[in-house]
């Protein structure tokens, strides 16, 4: 197992799925139990990555490399750096939680449901660990299929519309991305005389600025749809509203991060000239800023609880892309931290909505109000989720937003000034959401006898709350693993960045700490 740790992380859910398929479909509880075990195993297997990860090493770790389709130069090559480490851990944690949260919610086609979920886990992890562009693309497309079925089969009333919209939209983006990949692939052959999809090889390419820009836009479409950036975001509210709770959780917490990850892992290092092109940066930053404010304002107007959370994602992800295209260490690191934060806080918010939905089968704000009286524990958990999303210091959101703002401010002060309004609106729609659901009087008799959180439901929140507090109070370990990879990317796009004089750190710190 030692040399293939990452492969084990990648394929444990798939093995779980294979075993699950052997269980007879009528034994629903056994299937549920097994799916939970498999997801938990997926997390436990990924845990050694954290302990064995060397934050001081540059480049990729746990690398595995084998030929896959030699005729095309396709390799099975995987490995992680600090960025992918955090995202992989987020995926395995969220996977456990999402599967645990589905216990009662899913009653028919249980076997197929969990099989799809486990398949999806492997797909997402694959996206985050692939170091071969072909392999990456395969996993990218693999992820589409289970999510399509999860929305389309176990979704709400308009599930088919939402599922098809999600599928076609993402697929169209993927197709353009494939064009970009193939351009690089053939260009590599032209320049070096052999075919390969390996990322580190493709980074050696010397492309003309114009070609870089074309490829950049091709990638952009693929990634921007996934993020989603304004104006490619309208599949998101539909998909979220129709998806079952666990689907929404995974969709928001991890699936969207595939887009931001794509920008960081591929667009920036492979196309450094295009990435620093002033026009391109301005367009991307403008779309991010629009996303931040637009998403927040549209959130304020939603009557559907889940749609509000969905639009809040557009706003939060705007922060993430803003951080990326600030093109400096704080922007990038803040972006990755914020991706994790969004996974934690929005994951919790979707769980919160899901619990209300399971009890009442509606998400209309008008139906709720005063839940804090009958479900006090639930109200506390929801408050933590809301505050973490609103960026309250000592919880996770603040760390990410502040670091991104710092990066944006360094790049252009006006960007930070515009983005900072996002946190005002963020507080507005989140408090409004909380007030409409948890506070006030109970106006609907159906809400009078709602049971508070069960132990299982509480268990889905606890790991996320713990993580939120960890990042809020002591974020250093997260920044530590990001420092090297972020510096590498910044150096790749802006070779002169670290050539500046270093300002001396002030005040002897160690002595004071020792006291």
């Amino acid at each position: 197992m030692d040399g293939h740790l990452l492969s084990w992380v990648l394929f444990t859910p798939l093995i779980g799925m294979a075993v699950l398929l052997l269980i007879p479909a009528e034994r629903k509880n056994l299937i549920r139990l097994w799916a939970n075990i498999a997801a938990l195993a997926g997390f436990l297997v990924s845990l050694p990555l954290v302990f064995r990860f060397d934050k001081d090493a540059s480049g990729f770790q746990f690398v595995e490399k084998a030929d896959w389709i030699p005729a095309l130069g396709v390799k099975y090559m995987i490995g992680i750096d600090g960025i992918s480490l955090l995202l992989v851990m987020l995926t395995t944690v969220i996977g456990c939680i999402a599967i645990l949260s589905s216990w009662n919610a899913i009653q028919d086609r249980v076997k197929e449901y969990y099989a799809m979920f486990l398949l999806q886990q492997t797909g997402i992890i694959g996206v985050f660990v692939s170091l071969d562009f072909f392999l990456f693309f395969v996993f990218w497309e693999v992820v589409l299929v289970p999510m399509y079925f999860i929305i389309g089969v176990w979704g709400g009333p308009r599930k088919l519309y939402a599922a098809i919209k999600f599928f076609i939209y993402t697929l169209a983006g993927g197709a353009l991305m494939l064009l970009g990949i193939l351009t690089l692939y053939f260009e590599h052959f032209k320049q070096f005389g052999y075919y390969t999809f390996e990322i580190s090889e493709l980074m050696k390419l010397n492309l003309s600025p114009v070609m870089e820009q074309w490829v950049f836009w091709a990638f952009f479409i693929g990634f921007a749809i996934k993020v989603p950036m304004f104006p490619f975001h309208t599949w998101l509210p539909d998909a979220h509203v129709e998806a079952p709770t666990a689907g929404s959780v995974v969709l928001a917490s991890v699936l969207l991060k595939m887009g931001t990850y794509g920008f960081i892992r591929f667009s920036l290092p492979l196309l450094p000239k295009a990435s620093v092109n002033a026009a391109i940066v301005q367009v991307l930053v403008a779309l991010s800023l629009i996303g931040i404010i637009y998403g927040a304002l549209v959130s304020l107007m939603q009557q559907d609880w889940k749609k509000l959370v969905a639009y809040s994602s557009v706003s939060h992800l705007g922060f993430c892309t803003l951080g990326i295209f600030a093109l400096n260490p704080n922007g990038l690191a803040g972006s990755v931290i914020q991706q994790i934060n969004h996974g934690i806080s929005t994951g919790m918010l979707f769980l919160v909505v899901g619990i209300a939905y399971e009890r009442r089968h509606t998400r209309d704000f008008k139906e709720f109000g005063g839940l804090g009286h009958v479900m006090p524990v639930y109200a506390i958990v929801a408050a933590i989720a809301m505050l973490s999303s609103a960026g309250l210091p000592l919880l996770n959101g603040f760390i990410g937003e502040f670091t991104i703002l710092q990066g944006a401010f360094e790049a252009n002060r006006a960007w930070a000034a515009i983005a900072v309004t996002g946190i005002i609106f963020g507080a507005a729609y989140l408090l409004w959401m909380y007030q409409r659901t948890m506070l006030g009087q109970i106006t609907n008799p159906k809400n009078l006898r709602l049971p508070d959180l069960s132990f299982r439901e509480l268990a889905t929140f606890l790991p996320l709350i713990a993580w939120a507090i960890w990042i809020g109070v002591y974020p250093q370990p997260h920044f530590a693993v990001l420092e090297k990879p972020v510096a590498q990317i910044v150096e790749r796009v802006r070779p002169d960045y670290f050539q500046k004089p270093v300002q001396q750190a002030e005040a002897p710190r160690a002595a004071e700490v020792a006291r």
Partner: protein, 710 residues
């Protein structure tokens, strides 16, 4: 040095109390239906009996000991630390525990790379010493008072949990050694304020007020964040001591430069938290919260955070005369605006709320003219008398069974004598009667505004008018509440009673403070008193007094200073006399100010500022914009997507038609023409042997015939 090295514990005690309450509190306070508030008309609601009486007294006792006890512990540790600080050279003690938020390398304004780092660290110096003593000392008294005040309310443990959490964040705010950690406390107290304003969360108005407070504060916070970022990129640090060291290299700014921008952004943050114009609107609404909360958070401590922050940044503000002038003008504007509104309010707590806004305005006037120690002095005296007045009003409300409208009070003096006596002291103190705390601090502010190099005569005039208004509305409050004929409704009057000891003792302690607290900051003019009476200024001197600037600077003639002092006493006296005349002597049935007509209406309706904000920002920009955008999202953006889908289907329909009729049509046309062409031939091919035989015979006959005929 034991206490000094354990200053990190000071905030942690109340945090412990808060965590215990919020995690285990329900065990101490088994709530029955008391917390279930149900809108009228909802069927199947559990019967709501007397809320709170179900909680066992033993469980309550645990809460009542633990939470105030934690604050008392903090107070003891604070006193110990401050005493030790006195013996420390330089009177500065910084304790850094670990690096809390360290970002990655950052390009500063000069183009150098710097590593952003914010410690989890604490700074105890004379300024924060004053603050922690005020927060823990007055905080403890208010906790004790709350045992009585909240005794009959539901959610007892929840209340104390929030209150302890507040004290934790407030102590973080004043003890932090850098701006970012200060911001943690800053946002945290905002959260607790939100939770406590909305404590009666079944009331929509309470929840609305909490939300308004949080969001308005967030507007200020946005300024604070940008200010911190700009500061870091200019100065290269966010640690107070290092910032001050770095700022020593800058010359005072001429015109509005980058330092002025930093100062202005920080000040925007302060206007949010300290309820200054234009962001003061949340504070009066915050009175929806329980009265001890109004006393602790919305009078004595949290709202002074902005004053503390500006004083903490005094080195920066000294370098930026432009921004300092803005601070003074905004303070003056806020002071008179709020005082004018307070004159016409009928809700006892609202009068005090506007009074707080007005007094905070005084503090900012002092900050703006560079009299930082005076601002902190006023903060400190104000904490005593305003906490006293709020707790006193709480005692009145308690006695009146929840009534807050002064029009239904009157003549309460003999029924609640202790409350009356202590509130009278508070009123005299805030009005500026010589010898009481408010006199010393307010008069010093007015004198500094008048005389200091950065002073402004216009601001002074506003200040003295405001002082007169203050005396007027405070005596009006006293007259309407305690004197004259009782207007109390009969069924309420029967139950009016003095509050229990647990509430009156804190009132008496605070009253003593309101009398004595000022005697450590007597004017220099009173040279007959030894320097010990001016200890406050000397204590703060290392932090707040620049070596070259104030101190011995203004030797304006003593006669002028005596004259101005007399003037402010006379103005205060006139204000009170006028109120006495209008409300006590004449004791009218209707509001005498109504004679002012339109102006009174304007004041009663708070200059319609809330309505204007609602119209412009809430409904106009945010809701209007949100509505427009969500429709845009549905129709245009998503319309585009759906349109693309429709277009695809449309083209595929056309393609199908084309395919069926043109492409396939061509194929079929070919087939058809062959079919047509072959028709005659096919006619022959009937498959019947007889006809073949016939044709065969006929053919042969024809051939033969041809040859025969030829």
């Amino acid at each position: 040095m034991t206490f000094l090295d354990s200053i990190w514990l000071i905030p942690l005690f109340p945090l412990f109390g808060a965590v215990v309450m919020l995690l285990l509190g329900r065990k101490f306070d088994p709530q029955g239906p008391s917390e279930v508030a149900v809108a009228a008309g909802v069927e199947g609601a559990p019967s709501v009996a007397h809320p709170g009486h179900h909680a066992s007294s033993k469980a309550k006792a645990i809460v009542s000991v633990l939470c105030p006890g934690m604050v008392l512990l903090s107070f003891i540790f604070s006193v110990g630390a401050v005493l030790e600080l006195m013996g420390t050279p330089g009177r500065v003690h910084q304790l850094i525990q670990f690096t809390w938020l360290a970002g990655l390398p950052f390009t500063t304004q000069t183009g150098a790379l710097a590593q952003f780092a914010a410690d989890w660290g604490f700074l105890l110096d004379p300024l924060s010493a004053v603050m922690i003593l005020v927060v823990t000392g007055i905080g403890f008294l208010i906790h004790v008072y709350s045992i009585g005040y909240m005794g009959h309310e539901g959610g007892y443990y929840r209340f104390f949990g929030y209150l302890n959490l507040f004290v934790f964040f407030m102590l973080m705010l004043v003890l932090a050694n850098n701006y970012v950690l200060m911001f943690v406390g800053w946002e945290g107290v905002g959260l607790c304020s939100y939770l406590l304003i909305g404590f009666y969360f079944h009331k929509k108005s309470a929840a609305d007020a909490g939300k308004k407070a949080f969001i308005v504060n967030r507007i200020g916070d946005a300024g604070f964040i940008l200010g911190m970022l700009l500061m870091f990129s200019v100065v290269g640090s966010v640690r107070f001591l290092d910032v001050n060291k770095a700022l020593a290299q800058f010359a005072p700014e001429v015109g509005f430069g980058v330092l002025s921008a930093i100062a202005l952004l920080l000040f925007i943050g302060a206007t949010g938290k300290s309820a200054q114009f234009p962001l003061y609107v949340w504070l009066p609404d915050a009175m929806e919260g329980p009265t001890p909360v109004s006393a602790l958070i919305h009078a004595a401590t949290m709202v002074t955070a902005g004053v503390y922050m500006v004083a903490r940044s005094n080195v920066l503000f000294r370098l930026t005369p432009e921004t300092s002038a803005i601070v003074a003008v905004v303070g003056a504007l806020t002071a008179i605006l709020a005082a004018s509104i307070a004159v016409a309010q009928n809700d006892i707590k609202r009068v005090l709320a506007y009074s707080t806004v007005s007094q905070l305005g005084f503090m900012f006037m002092a900050l703006g003219v560079g009299a930082y120690w005076v601002a902190i002095f006023h903060l400190y005296t104000h904490a005593f008398f305003k906490a006293l007045l709020f707790l006193g009003s709480g005692s009145v409300i308690h006695a009146m069974g929840g009534e807050q409208d002064m029009r239904r009070m009157g003549g309460l003096k003999d029924k609640i004598p202790i409350t009356h006596a202590t509130m009278l002291i508070g009123t005299l103190a805030i009005a500026g009667v010589p010898g009481l705390a408010g006199f010393f601090s307010k008069d010093e502010i007015l004198w500094q505004v008048f005389s200091s190099p950065a002073g402004m005569k216009g601001v002074y005039v506003v200040g003295i008018v405001t002082a007169g208004l203050t005396a007027f509305y405070m005596w009006r409050l006293m007259a309407l509440t305690f004197y004259g004929q009782s207007r109390v409704e009969p069924h309420v009057a029967a139950h009016v009673h003095e509050s229990p000891r647990v509430m009156t003792v804190p009132l008496m302690v605070l009253a003593a403070g309101s009398v004595l607290a000022g005697w450590i900051g007597v004017p220099k003019l009173w040279s007959f008193l030894p320097e010990g009476f001016r200890a406050f200024e000397h204590w703060l001197a290392p932090v707040l007094i620049a070596e070259t600037a104030h101190g011995a600077e203004h030797h304006a003639d003593a006669a002028l200073e005596w004259g101005l002092m007399l003037l402010s006493v006379v103005v205060a006296g006139c204000g009170m006399l006028l109120a006495w005349f209008l409300y006590q002597k004449r004791a009218p049935k209707t509001e005498p100010l109504a004679a002012l007509g339109g102006l009174h209406k304007l004041l009663l309706n708070k200059w319609y500022v809330d309505e204007i904000y609602d119209f412009l920002f809430v409904n106009g920009m945010v809701k209007g914009g949100g509505n427009a955008l969500s429709r845009f999202d549905q129709k245009v953006v998503d319309g585009g997507v759906n349109g693309a889908g429709w277009l695809t289907r449309f083209t595929s329909t056309i393609s199908m038609w084309w395919d069926t009729w043109i492409v396939d049509g061509l194929v079929r046309l070919t087939g058809f023409s062959v079919k047509i062409a072959s028709y005659p031939v096919r006619m022959l091919q009937t498959g019947s042997v007889q006809s073949y035989a016939l044709v065969f015979v006929l053919g042969i006959a024809a051939v033969f015939g041809y040859y025969l005929v030829r």
